[in-house]
């Protein structure tokens, strides 16, 4: 195997700058998408647990649509097709004047996609608590809304910390799909370095190390958070 090793390439300009900027975009897209995914996903997940069949239907349709179309296809739809479907002025604004169109589209698309997954986690988290807690709350005269606010959600979210962390890490990895619409995140930059310098090993290793690093740090943070919010006396919060 013929290969010229040159690890120095990743600390030379302009490549180092590419790596740093790429990592910055990865993190930004991930965080923006996560904020959307968590809030929207929670609402949809809660809808699926209510007794209202309209809300449940809306939520179910949302989840099925966003879950069954590949992420890259959704990116293309949002970036290329969506502006065409808007009425003229709105379309023009999106295409010409919206700031950071690639970033915004990527964050929006990734957020909406992941919201469907978060919704499923939220739904199963709440349902695993069991009907008994719901009944106990209602029996003391709390309204349905109060039961969610004071009983189901506080316990549910503690149960969900591991799967939700996993979803965040999934967003972090899926941010790489944004490169298909031009967001120069870390994977894109690694590819670019490889194309310019042929030092693929060094470039891809850098990207790989960064992903692994972030994954490990997030997992450690998750354990810390779990420890801080754990309920005294309980080892696991799953269904009894």
């Amino acid at each position: 195997m013929q290969y010229n090793w040159d690890w120095g390439v990743i600390i030379r300009e302009p490549y180092l700058e590419w790596i740093i900027s790429g990592f910055g975009w990865t993190v930004s897209v991930s965080i923006a998408a996560w904020l959307l995914a968590f809030s929207l996903g929670s609402i949809i997940g809660i809808f699926r647990t209510t007794n209202n069949s309209i809300l449940r239907a809306i939520a179910a349709v949302y989840v099925e649509i966003f879950r069954n179309i590949p992420l890259i296809v959704q990116m293309f739809l949002w970036y290329f097709v969506f502006p065409e479907l808007l009425p003229n002025e709105a379309g023009m604004w999106v295409k010409r004047e919206m700031p950071m169109p690639e970033f915004t589209t990527a964050a929006l698309c990734l957020g909406l996609y992941t919201a469907s997954r978060v919704a499923e986690q939220v739904r199963s988290g709440i349902q695993s608590i069991g009907q008994g807690q719901n009944n106990a709350g209602l029996a003391t005269g709390l309204t349905k809304f109060q039961v969610y606010r004071y009983i189901l959600l506080p316990v549910g979210y503690r149960i969900m910390i591991p799967p939700l962390t996993s979803e965040f890490l999934t967003i972090f990895k899926n941010s790489s799909v944004a490169l298909t619409i031009g967001v120069l995140e870390i994977t894109a930059q690694a590819r670019q370095i490889e194309e310019y310098t042929f030092q693929g090993f060094e470039a891809f290793t850098t990207a790989t190390v960064l992903y692994i690093l972030v994954t490990s740090i997030v997992m450690i943070l998750m354990r810390v958070v779990e420890g801080k919010v754990s309920i005294p006396g309980m080892i696991s919060l799953g269904a009894k």
């Binding site: 106990a136 209602l138 029996a139 003391t140 309980m234």
Partner: protein
């Protein structure tokens, strides 16, 4: 105070309650017993609207439970309920479990709620566990907290759904003692249970259910001493061995 009139309920095609009618007057203690699947838990859950029913009427304190316009949270704040699995909120301390509904439903002030909570904990002899969390308590202690929680809203009636069925034998008595005290203080109670000793001590009436129907509905003395229907006798003979 509690009136059930020809109540019937179906889950799909399966009939869970069949034309059930009975009354519980103020201060009465009524025990509901029967084999598994007879519908007794379902019946009692209909009284405070946790379960819906398709036919018949239920009146609590002159308010119709099944009526769509009834303010269920308000109704439920007047009835206390104790569950088989205690159902204490795991993420709240004992004190906060008891305070939650007082603050959010009755809108009492924090001092009022705190005072009432301490009183109730003393009544069930658990004042020293006030700051513990449910998972740190034994089953019997948890159920006593649950009773205190139900009493926190000063209800005019209490419903018990097999309160001792999930307890180890040595803890059953501590809970039954609290319930006996409650009965002696004049609380209107409807208790689903297998504990016939308890029934004999404080119940005014016993209802025996089988396959969704109320088969027997008579005073305690009559139930234990006379010849009742075949199903009731078989049931009694099976459970009166302890």
């Amino acid at each position: 105070m509690i009136n059930l009139n020809s109540v019937s309920k179906w889950y799909g095609d399966f009939q869970v309650l069949d034309n059930c009618s009975t009354t519980v007057s103020k201060g009465e203690v009524v025990v509901v017993c029967g084999p598994s699947g007879s519908g007794k838990s379902t019946l009692i859950k209909c009284v405070n609207g946790l379960e819906e029913f398709q036919k018949g009427e239920i009146q609590f304190d002159k308010t119709s439970v099944g009526d769509k316009k009834t303010d269920l949270p308000k109704l439920r704040s007047k009835i206390g309920m104790v569950f088989q699995n205690f159902e204490l909120y795991p993420h709240l301390s004992v004190t906060n479990n008891i305070k939650l509904a007082q603050l959010k439903v009755l809108k009492r002030s924090d001092e009022e709620a705190e005072y009432k909570t301490i009183q109730l904990l003393e009544r069930v002899e658990l004042a020293d566990q006030a700051l513990k969390f449910p998972a740190q308590l034994s089953g019997g202690q948890q159920q006593r907290v649950a009773i205190a929680r139900a009493l926190a809203l000063d209800p005019i009636a209490m419903l018990f759904d097999e309160p001792t069925s999930a307890l180890d034998p040595e803890m059953i008595n501590e809970v039954l003692d609290v319930m006996v005290e409650l009965a002696k203080d004049g609380m209107t109670m409807m208790v689903v249970t297998h504990e016939m000793g308890f029934a004999r001590r404080v119940a005014n009436r016993i209802i025996f259910m089988d396959e969704g129907r109320i088969e027997e509905d008579c005073s305690t003395d009559e139930f234990f001493d006379s010849q009742r229907g075949v199903r009731a006798q078989t049931f009694l003979s099976k459970i009166l061995h302890h």
